[in-house]
């Protein structure tokens, strides 16, 4: 099947502009529906949290809309909800993002509120106390889910001392230590215009919007930003295995190791590899086809190394949720597919199908204004270029069978990996409860 040329038709014009204070502004007019999507991305996140105060950046993000110099928490909520819009702030390891979605007639209000949240939050003590309690309660709630427990334990083992080893919202004992002064300090350090990207996509005219952006953000005072240094993560050179007992119907199994950054030159070859190994459409990739479609071991099973690639290296993750009696079969099944793609070249047909999938489905990432707003930030941060839509198919189509073998050998490891299993299993890897001893007498984990 010939790759589609239609992606090009979606090419949109990006207006890039930098205010005098260093604020980067990226705008796309998209009049297809009468809405506007606004996103302010602060280029600092949980990766800069001190270990003893892990959770700081996320708490900053969650308190942005709980009071500013101009408005109380309730006034912010009432203002945006009264026009049917939504405003929210969220954080990750890399960024803190304030975003608003409004009807086009309310774009001015969206802009005004977003600037207020980013520039003038006051972190009222009352809300700091509340947010800490709430975060602690949410951590307790999240720990009810075996997949969450497994994911967190996996990160601890893979990243070791690197900041990404911890949950982005921190641990109970570090959340308890965070003070209002810490939040103000974080805000003062990183929330400066020269460290922020504002992307706005929707039904507006750039010539009318720019002066309003200048009015809302122009007086924000710039200052140099210093990011705390930390050592890059180290890829493991031995096996790390952990079993965590939790009464549950299923085992949640994470198998993998350190991955790559988004700017790694092999990122596109690895995207093709992901499509062949554990992603793609339906259950066409090797892992879902074998473990789900043929063996019926799971409803959810996948693998990917590019999905978590960011400014820091992400993780290669192979996941399966399966009944306890399948532990050995499932773990070996994942490992066998990893070994196979390292040791044997993929077929020309697999390669072509994966390319056709990636280049053809690419257009679905640019359907809505919020999607385009997110793309603009990625394009800016990772230096993708705003002509990325035209370049992407070329990157993918250049990948060869040899490339896949090379990157599989280079970035995947079927010997030195981390394995975390959470569910009805003992700490030495024996299945608990009614499955104990049934065909698993000699089972001692799948090391």
């Amino acid at each position: 099947m010939k790759p589609t040329e239609l992606g090009l038709r979606r090419a949109f014009e990006v207006h890039s502009h930098t205010l005098a204070n260093g604020l980067k502004v990226l705008l796309v007019e998209n009049p297809s529906i009468p809405t506007v999507s606004l996103t302010g991305s602060v280029l600092a996140g949980a990766r800069y949290d001190p270990e003893s105060k892990a959770g700081l950046a996320i708490m900053v993000s969650r308190l942005l809309d709980e009071g500013t110099q101009n408005r109380t928490s309730l006034e912010i909520a009432d203002a945006i909800e009264s026009v049917g819009g939504a405003i929210e702030a969220d954080g990750s390891f890399e960024r803190i993002i304030g975003s608003a979605g409004v009807l086009n007639k309310d774009a001015d209000l969206g802009l005004e509120l977003l600037s207020d949240l980013l520039i003038r939050p006051i972190f009222p003590q009352e809300y700091v106390d509340k947010e800490k309690e709430r975060t602690l309660a949410e951590i307790a709630s999240a720990l009810d889910r075996p997949q969450v427990v497994a994911g967190w334990a996996f990160n601890e083992l893979v990243y070791q001392d690197h900041p990404l080893h911890r949950p982005s919202h921190g641990y109970p004992h570090t959340v308890e230590r965070i003070t209002r002064e810490d939040l103000l300090e974080f805000h003062g350090k990183y929330f400066v215009p020269n460290n922020v990207i504002l992307s706005i996509v929707g039904d507006f005219h750039i010539s009318e919007l720019l002066p309003k952006i200048e009015a809302a953000f122009g007086s924000w005072v710039p200052k140099p930003v210093v990011f705390p240094p930390y050592a890059p993560p180290v890829r493991q050179t031995e096996k790390r295995v952990k079993f965590i007992n939790m009464p549950a119907q299923q085992l949640n199994i994470y198998l993998g190791h350190l991955g790559v950054t988004r700017t790694n030159p092999d990122y596109y070859a690895l995207q093709v590899l992901d499509t062949i190994l554990g992603g793609g459409a339906g259950f066409t990739a090797r892992i879902p086809m074998r473990l789900r479609d043929e063996l019926g071991l799971a409803y959810t099973t996948f693998a990917s190394i590019t999905a978590t690639a960011g400014m820091d290296p992400g993780r290669f993750i192979a996941f399966i949720g399966t009944s306890p009696e399948n532990m050995k079969l499932a773990t070996e099944g994942l490992l066998n597919e990893i070994k196979r793609i390292i040791q044997e070249p993929v077929t020309a047909q697999e390669l072509q199908d994966a390319k056709d999938y990636l280049t053809g489905s690419f257009v679905f990432a640019f359907e809505s204004s919020p999607q385009i707003a997110r793309f603009l930030v990625h394009a800016e941060i990772y230096g993708l270029g705003f002509d990325y839509i035209e370049k992407y198919p070329k990157y993918i189509n250049a990948i060869t069978v040899e490339d896949i073998s090379r990157v599989a050998k280079m970035y995947l490891d079927s010997e030195n990996y981390t394995l975390v299993v959470v569910g009805p299993v003992s700490e030495d890897g024996n299945i608990k409860g009614k499955w104990a001893g049934r065909d698993l007498g000699k089972e001692n984990g799948s090391k």
């Binding site: 589609t4 040329e5 239609l6 909800e81």
Partner: protein, 435 residues
Amino acid sequence: MSSLVIPTAFATEDVRRTVLANGLVVLTKEVHTSPIVTSMIWYRVGSRNEELGHTGKSHFLEHMLFKGTDRFKKGEIDLLTLKNGGGNNAFTSHDFTAYYFNFASDRWDVALQIEADRIVNCAFDPDEFEAEKKVVIEELKTGLDSPWGLLLQEVEAAAFKVHPYRNPIVGWLQDVERATVEQQQAYYRRYYLPNNATLVIAGDFDTDDVLRKVDQAFGSIPAGTNPPPMLLREPDQRGERRLVVRWRSKVPRLAMAYHAPHIAEQDSYALQVLAVVLAEGKASRLYQRMVEREQTVTFVSAEYGEAKDPTLFHIRAEARGDHSIDAIEASIHDELASISSSGITMHELDRAKHQIEAHFILSRERTLDQAILLGQIETLYGLEYIDSYLRHINAVTIDDVADVCTRFLNENNRTVGRLLSDGSDADAEDNSETD
């Protein structure tokens, strides 16, 4: 690109409704923003059509529809999706089963070939059936490992005594385990008929051209006997029902469900406004009271959606720390009593209406979202619901909201479920040597 006016962009006047001779309803909507076509097929069958002892059939069938036909062998539907750079998926609800494909607009009609084939030619290979049964059981177990999944399943089973909305969509474990390929095939023959389906196509195409292709692909499929109507009706509830689910968590959770009307009934619009007033956004009543002032919950929600038969209005909350679940429940009852007796403010009413209107527009940007709206409403009721929806919402008064709160969200009409610790969480780390 055209500039759109809010009400007409999402009304149905640019939707063409065609009915083929065999009864297949075809809805087409041209959207030329992106070179994408979404095609969906909606069958008027879901867990509401399942009989006692045979729950989960509709959902299992959805899985089987990807397992091949004579023409598209096992794996080929996904493979064609891959090769053509598309996406596919499907979902089953109480009221319907729906399948979709997203493709670039120069190659989307492969979706028509697949859907036209698998209406009638699903293979039901016995080995494939048994393999897929294992997948469905794993899916069911994933749900049981979710505290909310477990609690809501118990609440729905208690709230409905007669109506099949009492059953989980994925089915009860024993029913799924006992399912046979013959029964599954008979169910398929009864419900997968052109006269029991709606085809929705939204995106970058020419309508006349598409209708010709649809007729070529689907026109020769014979109509079947209309499936039997589902006649079960839930008797009135005559008093509160309460239940407790014991689970390994130490975080108490509360789920309350009130019987409420089906789609398009007069009271349904005021109930939708009430749900928003109660818990949509940080300015909402329950958020302000329970998250902000009393600080007893991490979240509180109120949900009421469109359904073919009388359904449930849900209020849920998750306790923060060791706050008493009694106090949390009492606050919700108190807030409902206050709305019943004193009503809401004009500002609350206006805000809720704006939230509903904006959501209606903000959430329909992708062609898939638009196809889902059209398919769902055509399947549940009829497209006229969409045309008059915002008018009905706009007509809701303060008195209407207080009135539906009194008549529906009252003690005798509610089922209250609590998920509480079974005592195992305290020593979960220590008992690894026992069991």
